[in-house]
Amino acid sequence: MEEAQFVRLINEHQGIIHKISRLYRDSPEDREDLFQEIVFQLWKSLPSFREKAAFSTWMYRIALSTAISAFRKKRPDIRYTAALPDALEEPPESHDRRERLFGALRKLNDADKALITLYLEDLSYHEIAEISGISENHVGVKLNRIKQKIQQLLKH
């Protein structure tokens, strides 16, 4: 695959890379570093991509593996509020709902974050099992537990 074609594909799928970066890192600097690390790892891992498979399936595997395994820099844990323009363009309650969802997702462990990300991206249990390396049955059990955990977290 040519560099230009790869960049086009990343451009199409960059939304999910930003979401993964936001899920696994707290500060804007760390998220930007992780975004760059994921794109770089995708580029370096490109020889392992078989063009018969879906690019997105391969991308989830590399992106989530990178997010979990990349070293975290020691930085003060400063939480930033959402950017103002974003908040002004939509009703406050839907913005608040998404912030609460992200807050709950961030409290999950690294493996649960990966599994729920794949679920939220509309992947089937079969695809989630293939990407994560666990059985389809186990995916079902894990996702039920994770969803319950999220509901509990959203109640508080």
Binding site: Q36, W43, S69, R98, L101
Partner: protein, 179 residues
């Protein structure tokens, strides 16, 4: 309209957009934030160790020290340089493994080996320096004291280095166990 409120909220999350030029620049190794940092440290350490190897024989009377002490010092410092280069090459390598669990297991295995070599080399490099400097020295109480102090300093360094790696390995094991 999405039936699952979680999915609905997820799909409606706004994300920043980078253009093709910005994405292309990320592919360059020279722009990678972590690799840039490792490269800077690698360059600094390699230059420092290489300079030391170039001048130590004259400055620290290498000709008056036994051959084994010279060989040990040079060998250990070359190993440290080689290890630093290997660390950089590992960091720039892509993800391997046919699924996330496998990729993390591969990463854990590499991490364990790298951690073991890092800690071992820290001890060996200190030992190489000591052997070199004390090989022709008459040790009295004062020098034994200095030697003991040096050992304490290196032990503390090794303790913290081991703790950092143990923390990283533990976190990776927990991530794998979470699947």
């Amino acid at each position: 309209m999405e039936n699952d409120p979680l999915k609905s909220a997820w799909h409606n999350i706004a994300t920043p957009q980078k253009n093709d030029a910005e994405l292309t620049s990320i592919l360059k190794e020279s722009a990678h934030p972590v690799l840039k940092e490792i490269r800077r440290q690698l360059l600094f350490e390699t230059v420092a160790f290489s300079l030391f190897l170039l001048v130590y024989y004259d400055f620290f009377d290498g000709d008056r020290k036994p051959l084994y002490a010279n060989l040990l010092l040079v060998g250990v410092l070359l190993l440290v340089i080689g290890h630093n280069v290997a660390g950089y090459l590992i960091a720039r390598r892509g993800i391997t493994g046919s699924n996330i669990r496998q990729a993390l297991t591969n990463r854990l295995s590499g991490m364990k080996t790298y951690a073991f070599v890092s800690v071992t080399l820290r001890v060996l490099s200190a030992a190489g320096l000591w052997f070199f400097f004390i090989s022709v020295m008459d040790l009295d109480a004062h020098r034994y004291g200095l030697l003991a102090l040096g050992m304490v300093i290196v032990s503390v360094q090794v303790f913290f280095l081991s703790r950092i790696w143990a923390g990283r390995i533990k976190r990776m094991k927990e991530a794998i166990a979470g699947f």
